[in-house]
Amino acid sequence: MSNYIIETENLTKQYGSLIAVDNLNLKIKEGELFGLLGPNGAGKSTTILTLTTILKPTSGRATVGGFDIMRQPSQVRKSIGIVFQDPSSDDTLTGYENLKLHGMLYGMPASLREERIREVLKLVDLTDRKDELVKRYSGGMRRRLEIARGLMHHPKVLFLDEPTLGLDPQSRENIWAYIENLSREEHISLILTTHYMEEVDRLCDRLAIIDEGVIVALGTPADLKRIIGGELIIMKSSSPDIEALKTLDYVKHIERKDGVLSLTVVNANEHLPEILQKTGRVDSVEIHSPTLNDVFLHYTGREIREEAPEGGWGQRAMNYRPNK
């Protein structure tokens, strides 16, 4: 009927007077790697928890994998995998046992389950560590295990809620590589939430910028940056030919200050030779690409904070000790 893996229609979730998700309308294509970018408390996790049937929406509707989240929650659950924001593996079990438990919960027959455990362990490079207790895992390893677990039952969609929150840069890089890899190899749609701009920039085909429960912008990372009006070309030139530059229709904005000329240009890379030619003598030039932070700033007047105030995922994983 439609080739959208996720469709929402005025999806709304309210907690008392707080509207966490406000009339969300979203269409995510099959096979897409889609990002939800926004600051903490923007409604990203609530959106995910609603789409995964853990929370019931206050109003509106949504389908996941063609199933209605309200009327067919059981089918929705079978067709999704989810990697939660906080650690959700049992650290008194081994990696293997966590995967086995997951396979049992999803009703996988034993032979298929064992085969799939081998596959997903290999995918995240944890085969050698599978019989170790999860409490001996590093934050990054635990994340990888939970990604593997989310994939166990061959879901059509995998949700990743802040997959690299609180991880060190090297582990983050590592997780990104795994996500890219499984997007290529597992033929599934991936939805990730994050407040790291590099993350969506690096990974996502398309993204929605979400703030206070509302989508403020939607498109590919490149599209969204283009909304800024193009890249910035910054040149040092003593006597630029401003009039000649004004005739170029792709130059959106010209600013001159202290011998520094700043142009907002659509597709700056393409047009740079022509611009240099028209400008005349140029001493130096640099192209500055707008970031998603510029886009967020453009729409909300605020910047996305980089760190979660409540402490990262890894920190919480380390604080979790049920038996002490």
Binding site: R77, I80, I82, P87, S89, L105
Partner: protein, 268 residues
């Protein structure tokens, strides 16, 4: 008709697999937590030997050695505490996101509840078997004389303890399903556990109580477990086994129904 029947069957299989999965996890955790097993054995033995030995030095109950008299009560106490405290694990599961992992699986919350009950009951039954064996040993060396422990009476005792642990684990899970912090859970359960324990007649006979106290013991569901267990392993009790089992089973069904409802309403 055929496909609808198959679908229903597949769904039931799914739920059964889910129950087994939850049980598998609880049992693995139980195996790993050696300190929990040791504590669940050592505490009742301390009660029996020190409390029972101390008080037993000056009193006996209708000719029965006091330690022997309280042995069934101590078994019930051990099961009561470990069963209700089992509910704290669901609070821990919620503290991280493990509870979400379970709740998002394609099985019903009733199955999760049942899986947890079986998990908690397994722990209690293992604990009970160890305590019964220790009881038999203590009887042989003459510390608690007069215990009628045979394979048959031990099996009957385990049936009583199983019904008891089922209802008490349910109570623990109901409280756990509402609690956000382990500290809160601890507070609520201690308020609940001590009256239930003391009023059950685990430590004293029920036939000579003042009227007000007698009334209170009557409304304590645990009274009937203690009474039934005394009948089975001491050959003496206040009420008949019919009444005891009637109350135990009725109460267990009630808390399971209530627990299923509580799990259905449980927030993540």
């Amino acid at each position: 008709m055929g496909t609808a029947g198959n679908e229903l069957q597949a769904k039931q299989m799914n739920e059964i697999n889910g129950i087994i999965a939850i049980w598998y996890r609880e049992f693995k955790v139980f195996q790993r937590e050696k300190s929990r097993i040791v504590a669940s054995i050592v505490n009742p033995i301390l009660w029996l030997l020190i409390f029972g030995g101390g008080l037993g030095a000056s009193i006996s109950i209708s000719g029965i050695n006091y330690q022997t008299f309280i042995f069934p009560g101590i078994l019930i106490q051990a099961v009561l505490f470990s069963s209700v405290f089992f509910g704290v694990y669901i609070v821990w599961d919620r503290k991280i996101d493990f509870l979400k992992e379970v709740l998002v699986a394609p099985i019903s919350r009733t199955s999760i509840f049942i899986g947890k009950i079986i998990g908690g009951a397994t722990d209690s039954i293992i604990q009970s078997i160890i305590l019964l064996v220790l009881g038999a040993i203590l009887e042989k060396v003459g510390l608690i004389p007069g215990l009628e422990l045979t394979v048959l009476s031990a099996a009957a005792a385990l049936v009583i303890l199983f019904i008891t642990t089922t209802s008490m684990v349910s109570i623990g899970l109901i409280i756990g399903s509402r609690m956000e912090s382990p500290e809160g859970f601890q507070l609520i359960t201690s308020f609940l556990l001590f009256p239930i324990f003391f009023l059950s007649g685990a430590l004293f006979p029920l036939n000579k109580l003042p009227a007000w106290l007698g009334m209170l013991t009557l409304i304590d569901p645990l009274t009937y477990s203690v009474d039934a267990l005394r009948r089975v392993i001491l050959g003496a009790s206040q009420y008949g086994l019919g009444l005891d089992f009637g109350v135990m089973i009725g109460f267990t069904v009630l808390v399971i129904v209530f627990g299923t409802y509580a799990f259905e309403k449980m927030k993540v």
